[in-house]
């Protein structure tokens, strides 16, 4: 019911017109926690939410309301009188979300809606098959020539899940197919709170080299980098229990022909997220502080903010390491050649031989550095890059929640306005208009209910998604970093082998 949305200021204070000097809250005691008007900070919930002050502001379209919004004001602050009588400034009251009785820090009192306060308690929903699916992306193949050429990748799925028609099958896909898949999933799921893994970035430079047919090391590296990224993207997507069941995903993995994804320029994951961010910026520009009744969301947002900053920093350092390791490999190779030349010109036989051995050792070591640089990159650096991109998606769903809240608030404001208008009409003799008003109100009441439901739903979904995301994050980091350390172990073991072989040669110089 619409009336439960706003809190009972008792009696008829809702529709009470404001007169100069009049107190806004004739019955302050009505608000459970807010008996003293002046004592509460602005963030706390105001019970007499939409109250009387609405009059001042609701001449124009709802949109204008928000255009002028610059400041959050608690309904209880003493300054409010002054503000309001000055005219149409701000005072958009943050409205407390859900139900009934408002208590300031709702987090714990909310048990009726959210059955858990810690995300650890959320259970996995997938009944039926246990998760058993493995996807690999392989065999990049250039199709066509010149600027119309593209890379086709083989996508192989191996699974025992009943969701699929076969156990082991593959299809051919091109990069824009992956982007198309992502854009479909993003448009379906992002706005209701699901963290949709972003697709790999487009790269005009990288791809052009491949198209033009440069068969050199850098374009091979580019293809390998992309292949690996596409594989990780698909695995992340299917690990999501909801996305896995999505028909677009199934079609992507199974069907031999896929309709060409159109205008993927506009729909690259970066582009999509840019759109989300633009929307988020618009919300922020209004600087309506959503009265966050649930500390959990604020905490999480802050947490992800901090995580983002740190991951980017770490990512930059690892990228630098990759670069320097590659340099080290190149410089070691050059030194090896130089040492070989020195050995050639050395006229003491034993020393000459030892120098040649040194050259050989350094040559093997340069290959070792090259391999390690790849480990640095594919294991460590790409993990960090993936998570930096994932966090953008996470931030996106939080922004969508705010948008959803905002939409709900808008409906509520509009409803309020209509109700006031209706009340006025009651004193005129325009039965047609009155009926129209009543109809509109009915419609709006429905919208407000839907808005509240949407908001509850997205909040619930996000809690689950964040829990799942954090679990995955912990698993990913642990698994991959352990793998990375193991690669470092291998390098050291090889180094030991090489130097142990060289030592007797050095000692043999006489």
């Amino acid at each position: 019911m619409a009336d439960t949305v706003r809190d009972p200021p008792p009696d008829g204070t809702d529709f009470h017109e404001l007169e100069d000097g009049e107190e806004l809250f004739p019955e302050p005691a009505a608000a459970p926690e807010e008996s003293q008007p002046a004592s509460l900070p602005a963030e706390d919930i105001s019970t007499n939410s939409n109250g009387p002050k609405q009059d001042l502001l609701f001449d124009d379209d709802p949109e204008d309301l928000f255009a002028e919004a610059t400041e959050e004001v608690s309904l209880d602050s003493p300054e409010r009188d002054v503000l309001l009588s000055d005219g149409p400034s701000p005072a958009i009251t943050p409205i407390t979300p859900p139900t009934s009785v408002i208590t300031p820090r709702i987090g714990h009192a909310h048990d009726d809606m959210f059955t858990h306060s810690s995300f650890d308690e959320i259970e996995e929903e997938e009944g039926g098959d246990s998760f058993d699916i493995h996807i690999s992306v392989s065999d990049p193949e250039k199709v066509g020539d010149g600027m119309n050429a593209y890379m086709a990748y083989k996508v192989t799925t191996k699974t025992s899940m009943s969701l699929f028609k076969q156990k082991d099958f593959s299809v051919k896909r091109r990069f824009s197919d992956f982007l198309g898949l992502h854009s479909k999933l993003a448009s379906k799921y992002l706005h209701i709170g699901y963290i949709v893994p972003p697709a790999p970035e487009k790269s005009i430079v990288g791809m052009t080299k491949v198209k033009v047919g440069k068969e050199d090391q850098s374009s091979n590296e580019f293809v390998e980098k992309r292949r690996s990224a596409l594989e990780r993207y698909l695995m992340r997507t299917v690990k999501h229990p909801i996305l896995l069941k999505d028909p677009d995903v199934l079609q992507f993995l199974e069907s031999s022909e896929l309709p060409r994804a159109v205008s993927t320029q506009a729909l690259s994951s970066a582009g999509l997220l840019r759109m989300v961010n633009k929307a988020a910026d618009a919300v922020n520009k209004m600087t309506i502080k959503m009265n966050e009744s649930d500390a959990w969301f604020e905490e999480k947002q802050q947490h992800f903010e901090n995580l983002d900053v740190q991951l980017r920093k770490l990512h930059a350092s690892v990228e630098s390491l990759v670069c320097h390791r590659k340099e080290l490999s190149v410089n070691t190779a050059q030194f090896a050649k130089s040492a070989a030349m020195l050995g050639n010109s050395e006229d003491h036989t034993a020393l000459s031989r030892a120098l040649s051995q040194l050259a050989e050792v350094e040559e093997k070591i340069d290959q070792l550095h090259q391999d390690q640089a790849n480990g640095d990159f594919y294991l460590f650096s790409e993990l960090l890059g993936d998570y930096v991109r994932l966090l953008t998606a996470v931030k996106g769903v939080f922004e969508h929640r705010m948008k959803t809240w905002q939409k709900w608030q808008d409906s509520q404001m509009l409803l309020q306005k209509k109700r006031e208008a209706e009340a006025k009409l009651q004193f005129t003799n325009k039965p047609d208009k009155l009926q129209q008003a009543k109809d509109e109100i009915k419609e709006l009441e429905g919208k407000v209910q839907q808005g509240e439901r949407d908001f509850e739903q997205i909040s619930k979904t996000i809690r689950k998604e964040v829990s799942r995301f954090e679990k995955e994050r912990v698993k990913d980091f642990k698994t991959i970093i352990v793998k990375y350390l193991e690669s470092l172990v291998l390098t050291q073991q090889q180094l030991i082998k090489y130097w142990e072989a060289f030592l007797p040669e050095a000692k043999a110089i006489s």
Partner: protein
Amino acid sequence: SDPRAVNVDLQTDATLQVDISDALSERDKVKFTVHTKSTLPNFKQNEFSVVRQHEEFIWLHDSFVENEEYAGYIIPPAPPRPDFDASREKLQKLGEGEGSMTKEEFTKMKQELEAEYLAIFKKTVAMHEVFLCRVAAHPVLRKDLNFHVFLEYNQDLSVRGKNKKEKLEDFFKNVVKSADGVLVAGVKDVDDFFEHEKTFLLEYHNRVKDASAKSDRMIRSHKNAADDINRIASSLYTLGTQDSTDLCKFFLKVSELFEKTRKIEARVAADEDLKLADLLKYYLRESQAAKDLLYRRSRALVDYENANKALDKARAKNRDVLQAETSQQLCCHKFEKISESAKQELIDFKTRRVAAFRKNLVELAELELKHAKGNLQLLQSCLGVLKGNT
């Protein structure tokens, strides 16, 4: 000539022992305390110290080079000028950037730069010391008067740096020498030994130069990678303190690991620098000194051949024959004297070179092994903990 015992070890002779017992780095100069222990009658005391600066070492070296008596010896190469500029610049940049980093990061970087400064300082002390030890070990040079003054005179030697005119003169001397060098190198020597040495040294010197440059680059990349690992360790530490999940312990453990492996990587770079890069740099200088010896011998040979021609001419004209004969004898004597000592010097050079390379390559391999094993042990023990916990 009696076979001289080849003395590779520079410290065994008790009659004259020289070392740098202390050094002080001031803003724009380094003061070395040169400490001498000697049983030779030339000195007033048996043990004494003086303070010397880099310019005084150069003065001593140049006095050897300019001394005709020493034309037949490989003059120990002068130590390079102490160069703290790069290190000082880094310290200054660090000071400027202090505001943009956390206190821990700043302290860490400062410690590292200070360690780097100290390493450069130790190296320059070592290089000045090696020069003095080479002189003290040389049977002829150790008796040089300037050397004794250098060791004993406890006042400033007042050898100011060369002024512009002198520097220019040096420049032209070098140009003439290299032009001559090319000329002289072209003349085939009748003596197989020297012919071989000439060919060998020309090529060897160039290749050592190349190897020295490449080893420097390789080591610099190594240092850069170690710096990156340092930053990675810091970031992981911050992540560990911030995270609310299981990962916080994990990150802290990995951060600790990288802190330690980073130190080892830095040591690897430092040891490669000491055992490989410095070795190559030193033999770059020594091989140049050997080339200079060959050049002086070639000049003496040319002078000798010219004196012969002059004598023939004089005899033919029967004019100034005595003068020509004396001149020819002098040149002959000079040439033979240089040739004799040069041969021994070049043999000693080879022996020293082989021994130094052996020592350094063995030590290099041993250190690389030690560090790789250290790294391995750290990695494996950390992995054990991480896997055990998950």
